[in-house]
Symmetry: C2
Subunit: 407 residues, 2 copies
Amino acid sequence: MLTKSSTELVRQRNSVLVLSVLRRHGALAHTEISDFTGLSSATISAITADLEKAQIIEKSEHQAASGRGRPRVLLRQRRDCGYLIVVIISSDAVQYSLVDYAGKLIDRFNEERSHDPSGAARFVAAVRAGLLRILDRSKISQEKVLLISISSKGLVNSTEPVLLWSPIFGSDQIDFESVLRPDWQAKVILDNETLLVAAALGAREEIAKGADFRSLAALSLGHSIGLGIVRRGGQTGQEVSAPNFGHMLHMANGGLCRCGTRGCIEAYAGFYAILRSAFEVPLDTIPAKFVPVAELDKIAAKARQGHRVSAFAFRQAGLALGNGLSRMLSLTERMPIAITGPGTRYYDLLRQGVEEGLGQSHVVRMEGMPEIRVVADEQILVFDGHLNRALSVIDQDIVLSGVQSAE
Amino acid sequence: MLTKSSTELVRQRNSVLVLSVLRRHGALAHTEISDFTGLSSATISAITADLEKAQIIEKSEHQAASGRGRPRVLLRQRRDCGYLIVVIISSDAVQYSLVDYAGKLIDRFNEERSHDPSGAARFVAAVRAGLLRILDRSKISQEKVLLISISSKGLVNSTEPVLLWSPIFGSDQIDFESVLRPDWQAKVILDNETLLVAAALGAREEIAKGADFRSLAALSLGHSIGLGIVRRGGQTGQEVSAPNFGHMLHMANGGLCRCGTRGCIEAYAGFYAILRSAFEVPLDTIPAKFVPVAELDKIAAKARQGHRVSAFAFRQAGLALGNGLSRMLSLTERMPIAITGPGTRYYDLLRQGVEEGLGQSHVVRMEGMPEIRVVADEQILVFDGHLNRALSVIDQDIVLSGVQSAE
DNA sequence: ATTTTTTTCTCGACAGTCGAGAAATTTAGT
DNA sequence: ACTAAATTTCTCGACTGTCGAGAAAAAAAT
């Protein structure tokens, strides 16, 4: 359904646009903002005056004048305009980070996760405590925290911050909105981890290639398998999604997966699956919950020395990934694939299988092999993705609520 | 990348909005347009005055006054504002339809397709001739034809009107833009046939359910297998895509498909595949190009009488479809599935396989079976989809080009 | 001290939407 | 026949927004 436009909406959109270029390029002068946005100088004056009055941006101290002419006045976000807490949930720990409005890291700590089966209730309590702790360690008032951005592996509701399925809690759903609402008035968002990786890579790509960038998929290899897809959307910047790739059907009636279904991709390509296959354990054995990476390193070493069964295990994993990717490409357009996660260290062993699996499909035969690149530093990408998304959400909210009321 | 807004853009969007409600609801009075769009009465006056001056809409003769008060003046599109030619390419014929700006069918004829292997070049010549013929039969001047909307089965470039792969011509690509540019100045668009079905169903659904509508997939069963997905997008109405579903990998190293690859879904669920399977022909036999539907009806009859091998062929087809749909659902959100096409007459035989194939995956086990409905009248849906998309493209173009220049 | 250069700010013009109320035109009531 | 009520359409002034041109500011070069 189309929806009506108004002049006020124009100002809102342009204000968000100004904030977004400020975010992308750091502190900028009046004229630079005008160049980047395409808006006229007069409009920039009006918008920045409003934003300054609303205490969202500030004029920075005049820098060393470089060149003649009237010196530039740089505009930048006010760091204390608001704060963001990033919560990264991984299989063995939860990381809490406090970030200011300019994207600068203020405080961070990790908390080990207890592996007892007490489950979701206890975990939720730990997260509540962790959040209050990071707030307490800073001297920031709670109202100044505008957003709590959470990420986890698993399946996430696309509109509400509800964890639908995760490798750790299974189908024990967690609704972070209702969990955190008693303590916090901040907005809460939840994203799949690999989606954030894709978003971060997409943002980098867009800076590098500009308008040439179309789309990109990030595949995260580890205990579980994640996929994020990002494509450039019409008006609203990038569009991003995190399909349930790890549990897409690879082969009907295939190996048993942690999720209880048979034949998921993860049941062939997850760490536990490679282990199971290398030890020639029957495929319907209930898989181990956690696999020490050292164990997998050993198998990889044997495979590299020519041990047939170990090499075969990685090849099977690659095939499952390749088939799955080909199916994904059948349903989307051709796009480059970035491979991340701890599993990248075995990519030499996986590659052949991946390429063979891809090559078995019509799309790949027709359009050719997609570009595949291995990207390390998944941790950094996840955090980058958080900042990317969270801060632009804050920009949006701030313009919607803040500017009009502050007059 | 975000992009700047301006007041002129506001007017453009609102003009398109007015035209779109006029299209959805037929001739409307001033006040009704105001109600539907949410725009104020004054704005409607301004916009409709512009559109009338630009000869895009007109005041209709005052109808029988119903109720007291000043009688309404209905506004409607001017039929002669522009024309649209719809070209529907199917495996055995090409249908040409001439439609006026209000969506009313003016002329239509079918042309049989020669099945000789002379291929794309000859086909293209036939289409050029067909288009000139339908123009000639009417007394409309060529400049008045604003858009030529073409549909075919197969894979289509998402931005340009290029047929990348089709069941008939294989990888002999056809670029309709360059083919028709010499004869026509009209814009040319090309869509996958099942995408149009999905678009038409989506439009109906949106009218029925309003804001509750989220997304929907249309699966077309026939000689080949098509899939269209429609979901409600942010500003720009509906977002629609036609994945290469028929040639998504069903089973590695599986049956040989018409496309030359092994293991496509179509190689199990296309009409020729069901025939092949029912006659227990080896799966690597090069499949027949065209299968008379009567032949398949016979097999279906045998299957319904309990003939094992025939029933098994349909079941296998259903399994391939079900597995494929489950994979699609793993990559998207849960959505209802509408089944169309000539294959719906066998759905009683396919159903069990489809449901079993769906049930083998994690998503379906977790979220439950998606709603599946059988929808007849694929022909009508295709044409509806054409009108839907084509006329809204015309609205857009007309506002962009027509209104500002006419003053 | 003056000119040049560069940046920022300001003013008037123009486009768009909105609310209020005037104008138009019919039905209902007396 | 006349008036009141109802309903729709149109118009006017207020408000918000963007833009271009040029004034004002401020430093370097001459």
